[in-house]
């Protein structure tokens, strides 16, 4: 294998949605460090400009893009803008996502639609937008960010759990349909990570102790710990691995 071992993604163009903070930010930085040219996308550009600058600082290549993943026309337009500016997307990281904690009986139609649109339909829209160029070149990687909650019943998170279970199915379907074109599609499903969302929940000491007691490694993960797996899944080395959801959760889904 002639690829540069330290920069296995050299020459590839990666698009990361929801790249302004948390896991998306960590993934964008890692893909950039592994040699990819990174399109850092988010709904508003202020934070994501800083992420792109952080990739450029040590000599990487990156650019910020404004992207509303819930709007099909915006997805089409902005992925086109990425291709024009940086080249066609080789690696798509579908990361953007939201959640709301609410009793199911109190979830409005609009709220349900927004969560499904942001967490699930967006991944279909982005994949549909970038896949033709991947098919044309016979190579592509799509990494969908799922959740361990995609396979659990979690009270008050119905729409979120449904959206993430949908991500698992989307991953499998795209994987088998596009495999022959050299496209690999996998889902990376984190457990409790040190990002804004669980940090709020874990501010309460009792909740924190309860959560940690259920994680065999006795800690939550750092967003940076998701990155090496994403780099592996984005690289030629993972060519035989497709359609899988890989839980990166300190052992939580494996235990009870």
């Amino acid at each position: 294998m002639a690829e540069d071992a330290a920069r296995p993604l050299a020459g590839r163009v990666a698009l990361v949605t929801g790249a302004s903070r948390g896991i998306g930010r960590a993934l964008a930085l890692a893909l950039g460090a592994a040699g990819a040219v990174v399109a850092c996308a988010a709904r508003t550009t202020e934070q994501v400009e800083a992420v792109a600058a952080a990739i450029r600082a040590p000599g990487g290549r990156a650019r910020a893009f404004r992207l509303d993943v819930t709007r099909a026309d915006d997805v089409l337009g902005q992925t086109g803008a990425v291709a024009e500016a940086l080249g066609p997307v080789d690696i798509l990281v579908n990361n953007a996502g939201i959640t709301v904690m609410r009793q199911t009986l109190e979830v409005s139609d609009a709220e349900w639609d927004t969560i499904l649109a942001t967490n699930l339909t967006s991944m279909f829209l982005c994949a549909r937008a970038v896949a033709p160029a991947m098919i044309a070149r016979g190579w592509g990687r799509i990494i969908n960010i799922g959740s361990m909650w995609g396979k659990n019943g979690v009270p008050r998170y119905t729409a979120y759990c449904v959206s993430k279970a949908g991500v698992d199915a989307l991953t499998r379907c795209l994987a088998v349909e596009w495999a022959r074109h050299g496209i690999r599609v996998n889902c990376l499903a984190p457990g409790y990570m040190n990002t804004d969302f669980p940090r709020e929940a874990m501010a309460d000491e009792r909740t924190r102790a309860l959560i940690l007691s259920k994680v065999p490694l006795r800690r939550i993960g750092e967003p940076e710990e998701v990155a090496p797996l994403a780099v592996y899944l984005a690289s030629p080395a993972s060519d035989f691995l497709t359609g899988q959801t890989i839980y990166l959760d300190g052992g939580q889904t494996a235990s009870w």
Partner: protein, 282 residues
């Protein structure tokens, strides 16, 4: 921590010791060589073929690492502890343990002999437990790594795979339980479950296991596999190298399927000329 550290940039396993069972050939050899390339000294465990084990040792030494070939029969779990005692004497530590070896008698379950069931389970289950019991003290509080090689038959019924599939299912259960028990020590325990990987054993598995002529069967399986090829030892070794790395410290208790998409394909698609087309799917 970056992806570069997880990959082969530099030597992420420098100064560490990896123990790989069934490492004289095939997938085990590919795993040992990959870990050695990434810096690890390696223990090549094998049963019979001293000449090939010696070749694996020589290949590892050519990479500038230390290597030790140890002959033992995992069908006799009592042989495991003395083997690890020897590793302790020679290397003084274990950082990565890869349980790769397996053997069974392929036949319909109604025809399985008791001694065959016992031997299958002795190798994949009893000796795995014995090896982890012996390896953990040699990890000496460091965040060690255990990786078990499972197989498709752990989750899907396959003709003549009753004994091995059951043993592999038990192995995957142990991956979860050991992840829970060793998690507080920072030790991770994971599995990899390969699909068709073309190694020396593949021919044996296909001919004895599913009773098909090898070349034809491989062609058929490749046609069914969404990525349209068989796997290689290096495919599996790259995943094992990630799981064994510091970068995978938050990933534990999982068995990762690496099969080119074979087992996620709907069985209904298998009846079509072009299985991955999805035409006629429900």
């Amino acid at each position: 921590m970056t992806g570069a550290e997880a990959g082969a940039g530099g030597a992420p396993f420098a100064g560490r010791v990896a123990v790989v069972t069934g490492a004289s050939r095939g997938m085990g050899r590919a795993i040992a060589l990959r870990l050695a390339r990434d810096g690890a000294d390696c223990v090549v465990m094998y049963r019979r073929d001293a000449a090939r084990a010696g070749e694996a040792v020589a290949a590892i030494e050519r990479l500038g690492r230390r290597a030790l070939a140890l002959a033992l029969d995992l069908g006799e779990p009592a042989e495991v502890a003395p083997a690890f005692a020897r590793i302790g004497e020679v290397f003084g530590r274990v950082d990565v343990f890869v349980a790769n070896a397996a053997a069974t008698a392929f036949r319909p379950t109604l025809e399985q002999k008791r001694h065959n069931l016992q031997r299958t389970f002795a190798i994949s289950v009893e000796s795995f437990v014995a090896a982890v019991q012996a390896a953990v003290p040699l990890m000496q509080g460091r965040p060690g790594r255990v990786v078990a090689v499972s197989g498709i038959d752990s989750q899907q019924a396959m003709a003549r795979h009753g004994a091995l599939g059951a043993a592999k299912a038990a192995l995957e259960s142990l991956v979860r339980v050991l992840a829970m028990e060793l998690g507080p020590l920072g030790i991770t325990v994971n599995g990899v479950s390969p699909g068709l990987v073309e190694t020396d054993s593949a021919q044996f598995y296909v001919e004895r296991g599913i009773s098909r002529e090898y070349t034809e069967a491989v062609k058929r399986i490749i046609a069914l596999t969404p990525v349209r090829r068989a796997g290689t030892g290096e495919d599996v070794a790259a995943l094992v190298a990630y799981l064994a790395s510091d970068a995978a410290g938050f990933l534990t208790g999982q068995t990762i399927v690496i099969d080119g998409g074979l087992t996620i394909l709907s069985p209904l698609n298998l009846m079509q000329a072009d299985p991955a087309s999805g035409a006629g799917a429900p």
